[in-house]
């Protein structure tokens, strides 16, 4: 009787929920991908659709098979240029158009130095695109300059920190200068990247308290970033590392374990992971959940060891 009642209850629910399903997959309604015409016009059209994308807030657009649209466009443009195979001194207008498009793709790929060179080639040509390229080159050269690698290896960690702080300040300035322009999202990405470097610098130097503070600052200033969930994971890791460090020192009788402080660190680590686990990207959610599990297992061991 119980089973009959269950079946009677389940059947309408099942019918209701599955009613929406259709067999479109088998009906062949989907358009199979067709060979594409990769003329210069089409490549430029595809590139143009994504040139104003906000890559700071959203992931870079991808093709249907998961490749970066800017990398694909650059590859196609390089192929067109290779097929034309003209030495630079014999370039025609079409070559300058290709080079200008390459510059735009390189810029979006954050290869500022290469992008600046491409724009300079076009700017020096006197072609139709010369003025636009010169204007573009001016902006991107500042980006290339700001992203230049240090001439010599860092003499000391402090020198590296000063360099990182300098880069953050420089990119912030560029982000303000490019406000309202498509390049602003790139500048914001660079600021964020160097802020991450700063957190990493503190973490590498065993200055976990400052690393945590720096990471919280990273989260405060990048609330809109697509990487917010990853920063939360980073913060959780720092709290978990601090807790582990405290427990290790107590085990080695290097210091007394303050259980309340230790628990506060663990609590904050869990909290950061829980927030990251609410990210809408499944991969990040899984990563956060696995870290929660790992920390839980570790904590069980600690609870058994702490006198």
């Amino acid at each position: 009787m119980r089973r009959i009642r269950h079946l009677a209850l389940v059947t309408p629910v099942l019918v209701c929920t599955t009613g929406c399903a259709s067999l479109s997959h088998y009906a062949g309604l989907t358009h199979a991908s067709q060979p594409s015409d990769d003329s210069l016009t089409r490549v430029v059209a595809e590139l143009k659709l994504h040139l104003k994308d906000d890559t700071y807030r959203y992931d870079r657009a991808t093709t249907d098979d998961g490749r970066n649209v800017f990398a694909v466009a650059l590859w196609k443009l390089d192929r067109i240029a290779a097929l034309r195979a003209r030495p630079q001194e014999q370039w025609e207008n079409a070559d300058f158009v290709i080079e200008f498009a390459r510059g735009k793709a390189l810029e979006k790929l954050r290869r500022y130095d290469d992008a600046a060179k491409a724009f300079e080639h076009v700017a020096a040509s006197g072609s139709l695109l010369g003025d636009a390229a010169a204007e573009r080159a001016h902006v991107i050269e500042t980006f290339a300059e700001a992203s230049a690698r240090p001439a010599d290896p860092f003499a000391s960690p402090e020198e590296e920190r000063v360099f990182i702080e300098g880069r953050i300040a420089k990119w912030r300035e560029l982000a303000e200068k490019t406000e309202g322009m498509p390049q602003q999202s790139l500048a914001l990405e660079e600021v964020e990247a160097w802020q991450i470097m700063r957190v990493d610098w503190y973490a590498r130097g065993d200055r976990l308290d400052e690393a945590i503070s720096s990471c919280e600052n990273l989260l405060e200033s990048n609330r809109e970033s697509k990487l917010f969930g990853k920063h939360l994971l980073r913060l959780g890791d720092l709290y978990a590392s601090s807790a582990r460090r405290a427990e290790l020192q107590a085990r080695a009788n290097l210091a007394n374990l303050d259980p309340s402080h230790y628990e506060a660190l663990v609590d904050q680590a869990f909290s950061a992971y829980e927030l990251a686990a609410e990210d809408r990207r499944p991969a990040l959610r899984r990563e956060a959940k696995s870290r929660i599990d790992a920390l839980l297992s570790y904590q069980e061991g600690v609870a058994a060891r702490v006198p």
């Binding site: 119980r2 629910v13 594409s36 016009t41 158009v97 829980e274 609410e278």
Partner: protein
Amino acid sequence: MSPEANQALRLGMWLVGALVAAALLFLVIGGRARAAEPDASDEAAKLLLAPETGAASDRAQEARDLLATDRNRKIAVISSALVDLGLRASFGASPVKLLQSAGELGQGILAWSNRTPGEERALLLLAPDAIGGELDAPTRELYEHLAVRERKVLVKHLLGDAEKALDAGELRRARIAVDRALELDPGSEPGDRLLDALEARELRASPASREPTMSPGVAPWETSFASALLVDDDSRAQQLAPANTPSAELASAAALYESGQRAEALEAFRSLAQGDGPASGVAREILDDRAVNPERALDDEIKTYTHKRSLGWLGGDALADRGLDLLSDDVDLSGDSLRAWKASYKLIRKTANPVNLVIDAPARIWRDWQPDGSALREAATRYLELEPNGPRAADAQKWLAKLGKDERRSVKVSPFKDGYFMLPHARTRFARVAPQRLVVSSDALEKKAPELAHALGLEGSEAFVFGDRGLPEGAQAVAPGQALELLALLGDGLDEDVLQPRIQSGADVLEALRRLDARVRAGATLRVMPRAPDSLAGLDDFGSALVDQKRARTWGDVALGRKDDKITADRQLGGDGRFCLADTPCIDRKLPVDGALFAQTDAEGAAGVGARAGYRQAQLQVTMGAKGPHASLVLPIARWLGITHYLPVEARVDVGLDGVSAGPRVDTSAADEAAERL
């Protein structure tokens, strides 16, 4: 029992008997299943010795034997599944078990034509003679049949591998597999189809080497047109676009899109997507791109969100998260998909629980349960950014307003306070290492430490909270000597079984006492303050008790609670520790005889009222339910004798309208305690 029911029962039993007999007969006659299969090493030895066995006829016979063995094994599998199904049907097993048996039967039938390891070995045995032309006509026919079957399987594997490689974008691997498959089976239709798809992908992936338009010649109009596009002179680009050229139409639509006329641009893409040329394919891809077509993204997310919400209302988080498999537009009959369907079916079966349908589901609708809306919020925000005046703008704004309100209200979603990042407390429950507060009832203090309690002035409250931190400043300090004495007495009381732990286990409470003791010995000051019990439950608490499976205390010390499908209202003799705090060790006096009056109902609709009493773990319970009065007595004899570890049984006597029954029963609490000790 009525004569009709009796007759029906007999008929049913006869049918089951006949089914089982038929299955057994089939097994004996058709199956000829062997009791023991030859050992793998024996098989290997036979194969190694095969060339020395001499005559081709011997090898042919051995090959036939191998094939017969495999056939018999398949028959045995089907027979076994059939018998299993019959037995489960006769015992009235659950529908899931029946489906499982039917599935095994189906798998056995489907596997009938599958190639087996025996065929592989038979082919190896026959191959040398076949190559040497020494086989007679029937054996030759058998060999060719086996060879064809081997080729078919190989082609199938190769095509499967090619398909996977194609999906993963590994075109070279796919090409090798398809070419090999077509070499083996030149007329293979699936192979041809896959080859077409592969060539299309190769053309797209490496267009420069194949596409005529990738030749050095760029059409004259393209240069000025692409220039206009690149410098954002979109109006000029549209003027320069030659009519009736799909590529130019595509670029023109892109220019429109960038110029802000997104609705018109998307319309142009849609129009272009109707065609068959390469540009049309690109237009379709663009329309599928959620980053370009915000309407598509918004529609997708609204659909997912509303489906999740409906499922969530019906079955909560679990069904909302996993039930979408049932709503997929594309029906996939792969193994993974079927497993997902099976899991979803189980969830729906759980949903059909009356307690869920009567209490949980209406409560979720009443509370306006909503799934995670971050993806929909992002899609709506993006839509408004790209098409602020688009046809769906009002819809997007409506969703944003709805989601925004919910999200901001939730602390867990927003860790920002006045612009500063502040992590909330974790919701994950983890093993604590810091000394916790401890709640002790006045009855417990009166029982175990009356003089000390009097000396400390611990009177006038139902319970007291002790701790070295986490108490208000005004909490009374206890001198170290008195603190240590009090903690020791409480520990003794638990050991002597005159005090009992509430909420947590005895081991947890003793551990909390030990940690507090260590803190006091290390110099911390133990403080104490009266604990005022919570006020009586309001309507919200009743809701929480029924829906969230919490416990709410009402008038007359009656507590209302729910555990899974069982709802209980009870009044425990001597109280049930209403002064205790959640997740905090709590100590109360233990009465020699504990007891309670209760009323309960469950998902089956059974209801009853009664009383229970316990003494030294023996339990007496009297219930008046729909089936009349019922009494039970449980005597944990093994526990009293101290042999639970070896013999975890207890004696149980039941008395009801059905009669009297008595017998041993497994003491399940013994296993729980063992697990706890571990």
